[in-house]
Symmetry: C2
Subunit: 419 residues, 2 copies
């Protein structure tokens, strides 16, 4: 966690609507936090080590608000199913394998190596129900230099026996056991009821109490798929909408991420806004599982907190550039096919979601304003050949559509250079 | 154009619904054409040189039925517009640059190099209105080893003066001039009226006569975007639907590709079927330009001829793996949002579109049945790490979602190895 200066073409988000470009400029980091961006380096920073990235683009590191580490193993497979069938046919059998720590070490090692090489600097991650495998995942993430929240999954009903915790008490005890071992500097625990169908009322209640008692954040899934929503309605007939099943247990009252939010009625949106819940928009996943298209620009317009999720492996890639491009693309289809009163996402908005939008879950993260954590990715887009002159903004737009880990020349997390 | 044997895991399409897998098998090529696929190599082929690709996947080469070579320069840029505005703001100014042959040489060199490294073995390509630049593009494609059709674009109305040909006679004369120079072994000319809004009635009529007289194939755009369709209706009030404006000039009577076909009414589909027209489905483009989603599985079900188009640069990539994945993805959104009577595309169908579906425009191309041209791509997917065993079919599915040019270990076109 150092103090240094980076030189290059520096771009971040001023707001969801506005990109901020400092071409040929200097980004000053002191003790892991941004001091500022300067077109000429002030004399007082002349003693800091300077890395000159020349004409390259320097962007804030990106935050992935929703992904499943154990599903990385089957990314790109078994996509011809909807959510509930996909869980039973593909996901649960794979997740059951993580009872075996040697399998978990192999698979999680591959996952963490891939995430480390991506544009993602911070991530909020689902593990499995297994405490030991989840702690192992946290050890690997801690060693990677990334910053993350990781959750041991809770599920005590409506899933295969190999994954089902015996009852709420057993699930809560396993969670306490895991929490006792989950002590790392940059890899923090997050409570993770899988979703309402997998969790008894008693388990949700117990997790809400645990979250309040220990001040722990919470992540889960919400209003992803029509079949899931109908199931939740039948399981919780006394609720008016899905999010109430979490809220009545206090699970929305801590820092909280709800993945998807594709089909939220207005009252549900009101509740998410009142509780300050973060929405993890996962467009690749929502198309792959035929779930639908979340009205993200409408969420932004009403002031909801939104970031992006790769949702590995219902989304096939950890590459948040691809997720940004897909967020823009599906928002256009939504506008064309469903609702022409909700404008498509712009490039600036998609970039905001991947940086400041999701970064805010980690505090002052996601841009280069003074005091923000110095998370950065340096892009070398020279392999994306072109015959004409391009501005830094045009180069950023191209990278959103075309970049992957090959184009990342350097990566910094909280002031530490990973590569 | 040789005779040889390849060994590996061989996959092609038996039909739109069925993949055919020959694991650990031998593909025999004689004089550039497939002889057959064998689980053990028959004695009579033991004298042919054998290349052992071990555990790699051997797939048919892929056909890109629709892309614009001059637009490669701005791939991934300027996507926040719909078709007609995008043409005026981004496309026409870029295409005007190809009056300069030195710019064309630089830009087309970059394009052809990229296409050569992709999974595409055959392509049907738009150039610009410029005869000399289009012939230069053909020279570069011929040297690349790819097989293609290339069209000098015709447009004599409703576009910037720098691109507008003076009138129908001038456009036809420039086309004849280009045809006289466009003599290559593997790079053939195709007549290319841009689309109805850019072409006077006299020009369409003249091109129809030229196509019939010279036996030339035709490519254009059809029913892509609602704004475009309304414009064509106003320009051709005597037609019942868009395709009639081409058909009344005989332009659908030669081998013909119509790109997009997003919004074809049933009578238009009937006409395309009666004329044997190929539809170039371009899902990335149709989302990027907010055009909509073509009902491709319905087209397949009624027996229409369909292949895939990258539609560079309304589609941002030449990578047909990405186009396949996007075709599947948008078909799911169409099913969810618009019409749940039209099933989403399967992996098998998307693979068929990229191989046999589009390949048929070139004759016996797109699979490994006896007599078919030996176009093949060999995939090394070992960098797509995974902890579990996978079948060849699962590996193909993963590659559809995740592969790019990095994973292509070898490429053959009509029996010649390109790399």
């Amino acid at each position: 966690m150092g103090s240094f200066v980076l030189h290059g073409n520096i771009i971040d988000s001023e707001s969801p609507e506005r990109l901020r470009v400092a071409a040929d400029s200097y980004l000053v980091c002191e003790e892991g936090r941004c001091t500022g961006v300067f077109s000429a380096l002030p004399e007082r920073f002349s003693g800091l080590p300077l890395t000159d990235f020349g004409d390259r683009l320097i962007l804030p590191g990106m935050t992935d608000l929703h992904l499943h580490a154990p599903q990385f193993a089957f990314r790109g497979l078994g996509m011809d199913l909807e959510l509930l069938d996909w869980l039973n046919a593909r996901t649960f059998p794979e997740e059951a394998k993580y009872a075996d720590l040697s399998y978990a070490a192999l698979a999680y090692g591959q996952f963490v190596d891939c995430l480390r090489r991506s544009a993602t600097t911070r991530a909020v991650v689902f593990g499995t129900v297994h405490p030991a495998a989840t702690t192992l995942l946290m050890e690997l993430l801690e060693a990677s230099g990334l910053v993350s929240y990781v959750g041991k999954v809770n599920m005590d009903r409506d899933c295969p026996e190999a994954l089902r915790e015996a009852d709420a008490a057993a699930s809560l005890a396993a969670t306490e056991q895991w929490l006792a071992s989950a002590r790392f500097a940059h890899t923090k625990p997050i409570l993770t009821p899988r979703f309402v169908p997998s969790c008894s009322d008693a388990l949700l209640q117990g997790l809400g109490e645990l979250a309040a008692r220990r001040g722990l954040p919470v992540q889960s899934h919400l209003s992803e798929n029509l079949g899931e929503i109908a199931l939740v309605q039948s399981l919780c007939p006394q609720t008016d909408f899905y999010a109430e099943a979490y809220d009545r247990c206090g699970l929305l009252s801590q820092p909280c991420i709800m993945a998807h939010c594709v089909h939220c009625p207005p009252e549900e949106q009101d509740l998410l806004q009142a509780r300050g819940v973060f929405i993890a928009h996962s467009p690749l996943s929502n198309s792959n599982l035929s779930s639908g298209i979340a009205p993200v620009s409408a969420y932004l317009a009403r002031g909801l907190r939104v970031g992006l999720g790769s949702d590995l492996a219902a989304g096939e890639t950890e590459n948040l550039f691809r997720v940004m491009a897909e967020a823009i693309r599906v928002s256009k289809l939504r506008w064309r096919l469903l609702d022409d009163t909700t404008a498509p996402l712009t490039v600036a908005q998609a970039f905001y979601l991947a940086t400041r939008g999701g970064g805010a879950f980690f505090g002052e993260v996601g841009c280069f304003e003074p005091g923000f954590a110095l998370d950065a990715v340096v892009l070398d887009d020279s392999a994306l050949v072109h015959p004409q002159e391009l501005t830094p903004i045009e180069r950023l737009e191209r990278c959103i559509y075309l970049a992957d880990e090959r184009h990342i020349a350097a990566k910094y997390v909280a002031g530490t250079r990973l590569f």
